[in-house]
């Protein structure tokens, strides 16, 4: 590297004057026609979870011709992310940005979108509303509840104690849908199964997650799943305690080679490929995309050795049913765990139903409380 010697007062000043974009050129000249895409993650790229699910897709995209990927991990949901977006646009020449964490949207991404009107922003989280948010922004999101429903079915076939455990971050609708779907999946096989939920209060707090896994195992729970950003420590603890685990976000089979049954995974590459194809073709990039298992937005991990033939067959059958479309996990009559009717008889909600987006209950068969 000889560039350091060239970094004189003059080059710095010219950098100030000419703008950072020109100053960045000598380091890594990006081909003019390359599409530069920025990925921003809230946690580490190798968390075996939420962030890894996105980073795995980014890694595939890196091999795509004509696309340059820039990535940044562990970016806080503060002005830090605004600066990261700005830096990607200014210093790397990024024209399409994927800020992947829910909290990046408002106000950070919206602020940057207003400032850089030529750049396109697509946010993971389903918050974009037409006429309310700028047209160079958008949302993509997946419905992963069905995946947790299938996890529940698999868990029901593996459990001997009839006690399942769910370690969850926060009692917000997205998480509650997963907890309830898992419990309903298990109870569709055997209504006597109980699912204990523990809320850790944080998206990523490995110490509490390990404590929760151990205390569930101590209580006789023999299948665990979760909704936290990085399921790593939960899967490892389950394996060490000799119990089964269902994955979430990404494939965690490596962490629990004996106990891993299956898992609900994001399949973001499908979404990113679509966006990037549109961008490269010069077409407008869609503003709002969402889908579930039947749309290819999510997928199930390959079965682990802990799941018997009957379990595999049951999951396969229900999955085939879901793939046809229109499947409902939440259908009446359905009571919450306090005995209130939450879905009346004759009513059924498909995964896209708006009623589910404000879910604030735990269904019958879940042991635990929201507040």
């Amino acid at each position: 590297m000889t560039r350091l010697s060239g970094l004189t007062r003059r080059t710095v000043l010219s950098g100030l004057g000419a703008g950072a974009a020109t100053a960045a050129l000598p380091i890594q000249p990006a081909e003019a026609k390359d599409l530069t895409v920025g990925f921003i993650y809230v946690g580490p790229k190798d968390d075996y979870g939420y962030n890894q699910a996105h980073a795995e897709a980014a890694a595939i995209l890196k091999k795509t011709a004509g696309v340059k990927i820039v990535e940044e991990e562990k970016v806080a949901e503060t002005d830090d992310v605004s600066k990261t977006m700005e830096s990607m646009i200014k210093l790397d020449g990024a024209s399409l940005l994927f800020p992947t964490s829910f909290g990046y949207f408002d106000p950070y991404m919206l602020k940057m979108a207003a400032k850089y009107k030529d750049a396109q922003f697509r946010h993971c989280g389903g918050l974009w509303t037409k006429d309310k948010h700028p047209m160079n922004t958008g949302s993509y999101f997946g419905y992963i509840g069905m995946g947790q429903y299938l996890n529940g079915i698999a868990a029901a076939h593996a459990t001997k104690t009839k006690k399942l455990g769910f370690i969850a971050a926060k009692p917000i609708p997205q998480v509650l849908i997963n907890v309830n779907s898992f419990a309903l999946g298990a109870r569709s096989v055997d209504p006597s199964i109980a699912t204990t939920v523990i809320f850790t209060g944080e998206w990523s707090m490995p110490v509490k997650e390990a404590e929760a896994s151990n205390s569930l195992a101590d209580k006789g729970v023999d299948v665990i799943t979760c909704h936290v950003d990085g399921p790593k420590v939960i899967m490892e603890t389950a394996e060490r305690r000799g119990i089964f685990a269902c994955g979430y976000h990404a494939n965690q089979a490596k962490l629990a080679p004996k106990g891993y049954l299956t898992g609900a995974e994001w399949n973001w590459i499908a979404v990113y490929n679509k966006f990037i194809a549109e961008a490269k073709a010069g077409k407008p990039i869609e503003n709002f995309v969402r889908g579930g298992l039947s749309d290819g937005f999510i997928k199930m991990s390959p079965y682990g050795p802990g799941l018997n033939a009957a379990g595999r067959k049951n999951v396969d059958t229900v999955k085939a049913e879901i793939m046809k479309g229109g499947f409902s996990v939440f259908k009446g009559p359905l009571k919450d765990n306090k005995g209130n009717m939450v879905v009346p008889a004759g009513k059924a909600f498909v995964e896209t139903a708006v009623e589910l987006e404000s879910q604030n209950y735990l269904v019958e068969g879940v042991l635990g409380a929201i507040s």
Partner: protein, 369 residues
Amino acid sequence: MADAATMSTPIAVTADTDRYWPLRRMAEALAAPLLALAASAVLFSLLLLGLGQSPLEFLELVWRGAFGSWFSLQNTLQRAAPLLLTALCVALPGQLGLVVIGGEAAVVLGGLAATVVALPFVNTSPAIVLPVMALAGMAMGGLWIGITGALRARLGVNETIASLVMAYIGLALFNHLVEGVFRDPASLNKPSTFGIGEDNMLGTVPGLDVHPGTPVGILACILCWVLIYRTSLGFAGRVTGGNPRAAQLQGLPVGRLMILACVLGGACAGLAGTIEVAAQHGRANASLAAGYGYTGILIAFLARFNPLAIMPMAVLLGGLGAAGGLLQRRMGLPDATMQVLQGLIFVSILASETFYGRIAWFQPRGAGK
């Protein structure tokens, strides 16, 4: 601990006999951290070489990402803003020999209090909302760290442990309140309080893309320096830091001084949280717990609890934060690389404490020879 060297110096003797010693003392105080920074740079370069990366490329990217362009420099200054104030939360009690590490809770609770207290006034005017927020945030932060100070002063509870445990309690309380009584029901998947409204938010400093947190933080550092080094109250505090028993024998209100230092430090951290809300988030939510309170500990120790030295150190750490992203993108280094570098700097600076008093040239001459 940081003041052991300066406190033990016989000021009266040297003033007569060695007029240049104060200058050389200042040079010593500059040389030690600079040497430490150089040492950490060398250690870190060895690590990079071990990884097959170029240290020169690393340095150039740090320069480019942190200071090398107008955008980078403003990025650095803005990141330094909350750090200036959270470092004061450690430095002020630190001057009295207290190691308070729970500033994070004062930041989040200060931000929450500022938001909640301002909510009834959101339809009046920013001229009312912003001062109310600042007062509420500082009061809350001061109260929270003040409890730690009172526990120490009145009951002899170790302030380091107490502040750490209080930080856990504070963060849990914050989550409980934001997800419970103060929650805006419309904030479904990211629980938040109601917003203070776009009109009441702080803009940027005119001509800059930096919010007023940076000038406020600088002003706070200067005021704290004056308080510590140019007032009798500050002198009493430093005497307490040198030897609390001796201070007590002199009739100084040691307990009250300790509580006051904690309250003032907490108020600074509470103000940091307030500014984060007023300038960035517009509402209180989990984004407030971004670790500023913890980075502040690092900065205060690097600055040896001197408020003026906090300024360059906060800019240094802010700059490392600003450059971190570019390093990830250009060199493919994981985020943890920056933590390793920060750790090396921290250890080097702590080790450089032993440098003080070792080199004769920096020491007072004439008297005692």
